[in-house]
């Protein structure tokens, strides 16, 4: 009797679709709705941070100060960094996780749907608080996204307190998102799906979520100490009161280094889904991919001081951090080799997701090379705090993390919307972006080596030519996002309808066994063992 009642009740649930109107988005607990919210939010933040980057490149178009004053320039670089890291890249990956993780493990939704809603809805408020710092007396903070004390404490405008609270809120959101992802992956996998059957994207996100839980509280601690130094007379970071400004850097980078892996591990996961699909061949070295991801995550906790080789560390410290840092290139190299071995003797086609994924592999590797160079301490003496560093981290974050996000969006677009984006326009978008982004960032290597420090509002005239080149590339790259937005909106509104479950013929993971577009509630009955086995082809094709 009670069983029958339960079934009837469930049947009701099956038939209810999304709520109508605006309240659907406010009250939603559906992982797909929340994923959509995350993705649009991060796209808006990307354009906001991008607009700031355009202003930075405009000022750097010529030596002298033509457009902004240096204080405002510093605010721009600071807010560009904070918005891109916390507003664009991280929420975009959480959005992808929300959409994809439940579908890829054959689960109906995230494990904690109400918390999921809250994790998202904190973000717009945090972003508003962050951006409103521009309108506070004294302007937005100009101490860089790294917020080094005492420039961020004694010497910062009032708006720094806004940024501190915004970071607290962003931290809450990230931690809740991470808990949700861990709970979902550990508890909600389809019966019969073992950990080593999970798609790489799910694996990389599981590991990333642990990193988030471990380090976001550390950042919260660092900014809270800043808050009390600023307002309540403590001296954590002031030598005059017995504190130490370098301690801030240690705490910040203990968060900051795992943070850069938080932004790249899910990107590895996306590349590991796309390349096998378009090479029509199983991922090479699945197990070693998982172990390499885990090793990178563990190593990321023990290399933080390579961001601060010039603060006057003891030589033993410098040597240790150099060795540990360059060691990371081993598991990272394994991943690159595995992707290439996946391509080897495949049957490749080059649709937009594949183009973005392959250029991700190449350009991320370029960023990896400069990372290796930066890890060698004596050479870092010259590279440190120059445009060489700027070039390095934009190669790993723009042509690394952002590239993978764009690749993922094109890849899963038909599954999400039930329509196909315009392939021809997407190819134009790709070539436009990949050329302009290299015109933008490659000359910055030269600028840095020739001696231009980063975070400079103005420069000596010997640096003019490469800055002009970089700015031209910057404007072209910025404009490519107008095309991107057009392609997405055109695809959603008027794209060709996709009928088949798997528009990419050789895509095997579980999101491709359900109808297209993915129904509001998917996997209300778990996938069959056969479907799971086919999805995890890496194990069962022995």
């Amino acid at each position: 009797m009670s069983t029958a009642t339960a079934t009837t009740h469930n049947d009701d649930a099956h038939h209810h679709g999304p709520e109508k109107g605006l309240m659907r988005w406010v009250r939603t607990t559906n992982h797909k709705d929340i994923g959509t919210l995350y993705l649009w939010f991060s796209f808006i933040m990307l354009l906001t941070g991008g607009a700031m980057a355009m202003m930075i490149r405009l000022e750097l178009l010529a030596p002298g100060l033509q457009y902004v004053d240096p204080q405002f320039f510093n605010s721009l670089t600071t807010m560009h960094g904070l918005i891109m890291v916390f507003g664009a890249i991280m929420p975009a990956f959480v959005g992808l996780a929300n959409w994809q993780v439940p579908m890829m493990i054959g689960a109906p939704d995230m494990a904690l749907p109400r918390m999921n809603n809250w994790s998202f809805w904190i973000l717009p408020f945090a972003a508003t608080l962050l951006i409103s710092s521009f309108f506070v007396e004294g302007g937005a903070p100009g101490s860089g996204w790294t917020m080094y004390a005492p420039l961020s404490t004694t010497y910062a405008p009032k708006s720094m307190d806004f940024v501190i609270f915004a970071i607290h809120l962003l931290g809450f959101s990230s931690i809740m998102g991470a808990i949700n992802i861990i709970a979902t992956i550990t508890n909600m996998r389809a019966p019969g799906m073992r950990l080593m059957d999970m798609p790489l994207f799910v694996w990389t996100w599981l590991i990333t979520a642990f990193l988030l839980i471990a380090v976001m509280p550390v950042l919260a601690g660092a900014v809270t100490m800043m808050l009390t130094d600023r307002n309540f007379g403590t001296s954590f970071f002031s030598a005059a009161g017995g504190g130490d400004p370098v301690m801030f850097q240690h705490i910040f980078w203990f968060f900051g280094h795992p943070e850069v892996y938080i932004m790249i591990l899910p990107a590895f996961g996306i590349a590991s889904q796309i390349i096998p699909t378009f090479a029509r061949k199983p991922l090479f070295g699945y197990a070693s991919m998982v172990y390499a991801t885990a090793s990178i995550a563990i190593l990321s906790f023990v290399v933080w001081a390579h961001h601060m080789f010039l603060v006057g560390m003891p030589i033993e410290g410098q040597l240790y951090f150099m060795y540990a840092t360059i060691l990371i290139s081993v598991p990272t190299g394994i991943k690159v080799f595995n992707w290439i071995a996946t391509m080897w003797r495949g049957s490749m086609t080059f649709e937009a997701p594949m183009l973005w994924a392959l250029s991700f592999v190449i350009l991320f590797t370029v960023g990896g090379f400069t990372g290796l160079m930066l890890g060698v301490v004596p050479a870092d003496i010259q590279y440190h705090d120059t445009y060489f560093v700027v070039a390095h981290f934009h190669y790993v974050l723009v042509t690394g993390a952002l590239w993978a996000i764009i690749a993922g969006v094109y890849y899963w677009f038909p599954k999400w919307t039930g329509r196909m984006y315009d392939e021809k326009l997407a190819k134009i978008h790709f070539w436009w972006a990949v050329i302009s982004v290299n015109v933008l960032f490659f000359p910055q290597h030269f600028l840095g080596l020739a001696g231009m420090p980063r975070r400079y509002a103005d420069y000596s005239i010997q640096f003019t030519d490469f800055n002009v080149l970089s700015s031209i590339g910057g404007f072209a790259f910025g404009a490519s996002f107008i095309l991107y937005a057009y392609i997405l909106i055109k695809g959603i509104v008027a794209g060709k309808k996709v009928e088949e479950n798997a528009p990419w013929e050789s895509a095997t993971t579980l999101e491709w066994v359900i109808p297209t577009p993915a129904p509001y509630h998917s996997f209300e009955t778990p996938p069959t063992q056969e479907q799971i086995d086919r999805a995890s082809q890496h194990i069962h094709t022995h």
Partner: protein, 402 residues
């Protein structure tokens, strides 16, 4: 330093100036198109414009060599990896009729591509360790120079023998400041070849001896960088870092560098300029410096006219105060207070003098940067240039308060 803060809204609403700015940007673009190879070694920077300068010291040579080694290692790996990848992208495409194989692991290959990178890393780490150990050996220095970074200038103090007691500040030079102001006012880009890499007072050092730089800061973190020496070290308030350089004899000349750690508004405007001179020249300079200082002390005791004070005050304000309080005296709301109609400025003379001498909050102490005559002159300019107090401050008064 007289960077005038400009009202961004006002500037942007002026179509005329915006157009001028854009024209200057276009000029910059065409200079790039037509003169890509024309620029080379402004100043004595030994950089070729796109690679790290080899520099002039043994240490900078070692760093350069290490940089080139890792660079070529990366290039070699890159050629290998991207070569294989490119071959595969060309050869293993469906349109060429490639049929997908089904292999998905190979323990032997995976072990090989774990071991080989490890060996490469060890090969890189050995020379890197050697150079690092040498760099960290700051013992047995012949002379010691204390370098203090403050917003936005450097202070140099000589610690040994004859040169002991020599101490001065090094600010961005006047010509750079003028060209910067021109670019703000009219949008015309600076054309001066040493724009932003020249200072009023250079650090003078002898060649052929081991110079130990003791680096610290008085407010926020800075970083003292001279690329040609292979020297860069963070200047941290409350802590002293040491590094060193030996400039070989025969390499006398001017070496230019910059502040490398974000230190606030005028981070880009506090260059480092070092002039390396022979031992004899250095001894002569030390003597001259001591003599000049005696002359300056005489100034403090004489009675100044109001006019002389105002002139000297305006100049000193431009060099030392305008970076924060702005050329208009109105400061920047919320960060740098206005000196116009400020109760502090028009109030008690002694209190004002004490704040200039000792600093307060984010404002640094000017006790060591300005002599009595300069402080009196600045006070005269503050009280009777920006404000109308109608009094006179003599250097002798400042001397008594100091």
């Amino acid at each position: 330093m007289g960077i005038q803060m400009k009202n961004t809204k006002k500037t942007l609403s002026s179509v005329n100036i915006f157009a001028k700015r854009f024209v200057s940007s276009i000029i910059a673009i065409s200079s790039f198109l037509f003169a890509f190879n024309a620029y080379a070694n402004f100043g004595l920077n030994t950089s070729n414009g796109y690679n790290m300068p080899r520099g002039v010291t043994e240490m900078s040579h070692q760093i350069y060599d290490l940089h080139m080694i890792i660079f070529y290692v990366c290039v070699a790996i890159g050629i290998g990896v991207f070569g294989v990848m490119g071959y595969s992208m060309y050869k293993h495409r469906k349109s060429k009729g490639s049929k997908a194989a089904n292999f998905h692991e190979n323990i032997k290959v995976e072990i090989i591509w774990t071991i080989i990178p490890l060996i490469i890393l060890i090969i890189i780490a050995i020379p890197a360790t050697k150079v690092l150990i040498e760099r960290e050996d700051v013992s047995k220095a012949d002379i010691n120079i204390k370098v203090t970074g403050s917003q936005w200038k450097w202070r140099y103090e000589y610690m040994d023998s004859d040169a002991k007691g020599i101490s001065f500040f090094s600010n961005l030079d006047k010509r750079s400041r003028e060209q910067l102001q021109t670019s703000i006012d009219t949008g015309v880009s600076p054309s001066y070849e040493n724009y932003l890499v020249n200072v009023d007072n250079r650090l003078i050092v002898p060649t052929g001896v081991k110079i130990r730089f003791l680096i610290t800061a008085s407010d926020v973190i800075h970083s003292w960088w001279v690329p040609d020496f292979g020297v860069k070290q963070d200047a941290i308030p409350g802590f002293v870092n040491a590094t060193w350089a030996i400039i070989p004899p025969g390499k006398e000349g001017v070496y230019r560098g910059e502040c490398a750690e974000l230190c606030g508004k005028d981070h880009a405007y506090m260059p480092v300029v070092v002039e390396a001179v022979s031992q004899e020249e250095f001894t002569r300079w030390v003597g001259e410096f001591h003599n000049a200082k005696k002359d300056a002390q005489k100034n403090a005791n004489k009675e100044w006219t109001e006019k002389d004070l105002m002139t000297a005050g305006e100049q000193a304000y431009g060099s030392y105060c305008a970076a924060c309080h702005q050329a208009t005296g109105k400061g920047i709301e919320g960060i740098f207070p206005s000196v116009v109609d400020s109760a502090m400025v028009i109030g008690d003379k002694k209190e004002l003098a004490m704040q200039i001498l000792n600093g307060k909050g984010a404002m640094s102490a000017f006790r060591d940067q300005l002599d009595d005559a300069q402080i009196a002159a600045v006070m005269q300019f503050l009280r009777n240039g920006f404000n109308k107090v109608g009094d006179i401050t003599q250097p002798s008064e400042v001397k008594a308060w100091r």
